[in-house]
Symmetry: C2
Subunit: 389 residues, 2 copies
């Protein structure tokens, strides 16, 4: 696959089109695996794709056509407070959202503790207090003291209680996702205008690189899209592990995965608000662990934005990423590099932009506060009189 | 002045040309002051400029013409070891140089000590050991234990003894600058080809914002240019103190200052290798001190590169800047943001890229090492197969 991508790049002079062409070859010759979800396979079959077992061989040009035909180039995230509505898409300042997923919390006194219901509410309040963080995200820490089944509703309720900003939906299961959508819509109690691209919640639909989608993301994607809510379709690769070691190869693979997911969203319901995410981080063959904050990730970030712009959909960025275990110079340097790259590249929705620590296994309160303050300064710099050239 | 710049920007839609036009108005209506250097005033008079006392009213279009006619768009920095020669200019990876100017050194054990001859040699050795740092700079710390008069030769000798890479010249006085040039050329013992833009040393020629050049920089600029060595002409402003508070205004003022200095270099000797530097940092009205690492500086950095590209000269970047007093998360975050902006903006020669601490009053050994390692990772990312779009 890497060889294919490199070959195309050398032939075609290294433009966005070269990545697209390499992705098309991957889609046609290697295909994408869709695990344990017959409905998705049937849909692809109905679109004329060749399906062998759970692998589907796809036509990249056709996917781009499907996506471009109905994906909104920008859409509104509807907040409980109308003044907190925000638009996702180019020509609008980036929307920052906090870290997503850490099981543990690093407290101000340096003590490390499992995430809890109470800490979750405090983290949401911190995100709400930061003017630059216009989306309070999802799963700012894991609710270890709440039964797993109850967590999605608990989290959604925390966002609705503590903040009036938009936030993100759950991916625990299709039914949980639908419950949270209903809960959020009821609390928001504003009708969306049907002629305007808008939704309440973004849902993080991750592929499972290389070239696979798991059953649960596929089922959630369908449920969420049919309900008219947003999907953040992302390929998040580890260079040399779940993706090629080279930037060009990773871009080709990740773009192929994104095309498949983004097209599914439009096929299930034309007009579904989508955001494309394509990111790759280093993987250490020595420790068998990923590491975060390397400049190669910046390069991937920049080219991902170009691919998404060429496709015509809003694009995700990744801020604040670091492998450091404390909020030290390494955490500051790596995290700031990632955030700067996402901003400068022109990302529309920047996830993990505050609090991320220890390769994402921990949310640091001090790093969260430090980054929240820095993001406000960033946003202020966007408000200087325009001197774009 | 700020009002003028803002007016132009709003009229002309905010392009590079608008900054140029605002700078031209400043040059024509406010003029530039050249202190205590009759030869420079005579030169401007001979060029047809109106000279009132020490203020010269200049024609921006004429200055650009002078600069574009003879400034090399790229040039070679000649090293003692031929394999360490490097090219300054677009389409070449950035050249990183270490911090310039700090009186004190923060040692590994946290002890703070005045810079010394011995520490200087250790710092140069560290710069030499970093593959990304292709220029070992100048005044990595002040030689407090060496009589002031002897410092330029001591520093040059340290660079020649400990490293074979190119470094920077002194600005202590014209005669000191010439002595160091002679010393360096003798040690390098390679004849430069006259048909190829090349020099051994870059010299940091700073304006004194707002809109002034001091006598010593003017005299050094002349001496160095006439000798065929390089000049890094820089306007380094404090927003709201020595420059306008707005980005647009600062760009206009800084560009006006740069035009004057760059044109002088070409007038004293057509073909003088030059680099343009235009940077601005925040100034706190409360503490009456500058602070470093704010995102506004990034914005200035990006537009400075566009102005320099439009002028056709290589451009300086500023990396690693921070106000933090220890190498903590703040130092990591602010420094990395500055370095990332300089790299992504496309700067050709990036000063202060390792070691800078405490608003430049101190060089930190740990920050130097940390940043040197990060710069090598940055350089490696430039060596990935090209996928520029």
């Amino acid at each position: 696959m890497t060889a294919l991508a490199t070959e195309y790049l050398s032939q075609l002079g290294g433009r966005v089109e070269a990545i697209e062409a390499a992705a098309d070859t991957i889609l046609a010759q290697v295909g994408i695996r869709f695990d344990d979800d017959p409905q998705t396979l049937e849909l692809w079959h109905a679109q004329g794709a060749r399906v062998v077992d759970t692998t589907v061989f796809l036509d990249g040009a056709q996917l781009r056509e499907i996506i471009r035909a109905t994906s909104p180039t920008q859409f509104t995230l509807v907040a409980r407070d109308k003044t907190q509505d925000c638009i996702v898409g180019r020509d609008h300042p980036p929307i920052f959202a906090p870290v997503y997923g850490p099981p543990d919390v690093l407290l101000r006194d340096g003590q490390r503790t499992p995430g809890s219901r109470q800490l979750y509410r405090e983290l949401v309040a911190m995100a709400d207090a930061c003017d630059a963080m216009r989306n309070t995200g999802h799963m700012l820490c894991v609710l270890n003291d709440v039964p797993e089944h109850d967590r999605p509703a608990e989290m959604a309720q925390a966002h609705l209680d503590v903040s009036t900003k938009p936030f993100m939906g759950t991916m625990m299961s299709p039914s949980a996702a639908l419950d949270v959508i209903d809960l959020t819509r009821a609390a928001t109690s504003r009708e969306l205008q049907s002629d305007n691209a808008a939704c309440h919640l973004l849902h993080l639909v991750n592929s499972t690189p290389p070239l696979t989608y798991g059953a649960n993301p596929l089922k959630c994607l369908r449920a969420v899209a049919e309900k008219g809510e947003g999907c953040l379709v992302t390929s998040f690769m580890m260079l040399g592990a779940t993706g090629p070691a080279s930037v060009a190869g990773a871009l080709a693979q990740g773009y192929a995965e994104c095309l498949a997911g983004l097209a599914l969203a439009q096929l299930w319901r034309p007009g579904t608000p989508v955001v494309m995410g394509l990111y790759a981080t280093q993987f250490s063959m020595r420790s068998m662990l990923p590491w975060f904050g390397d400049p190669l990730s910046q390069t991937v970030q920049f080219h991902a934005v170009k691919l998404a712009r060429h496709l015509g959909v809003p694009v995700r960025g990744d801020g604040g990423l670091t492998s450091s275990c404390v909020d030290d110079a390494q955490a500051g340097s790596e995290g700031s590099r990632a955030t700067s790259a996402a901003i400068v590249a022109g990302c529309d929705f920047i996830l993990h932009s505050a609090g991320w620590l220890e390769s994402g296994r921990c949310v640091s309160i001090t790093k969260f506060e430090r980054e929240a303050a820095a993001l406000s300064a960033e946003l202020a710099s966007f408000r200087q009189p325009s001197i774009n050239t």
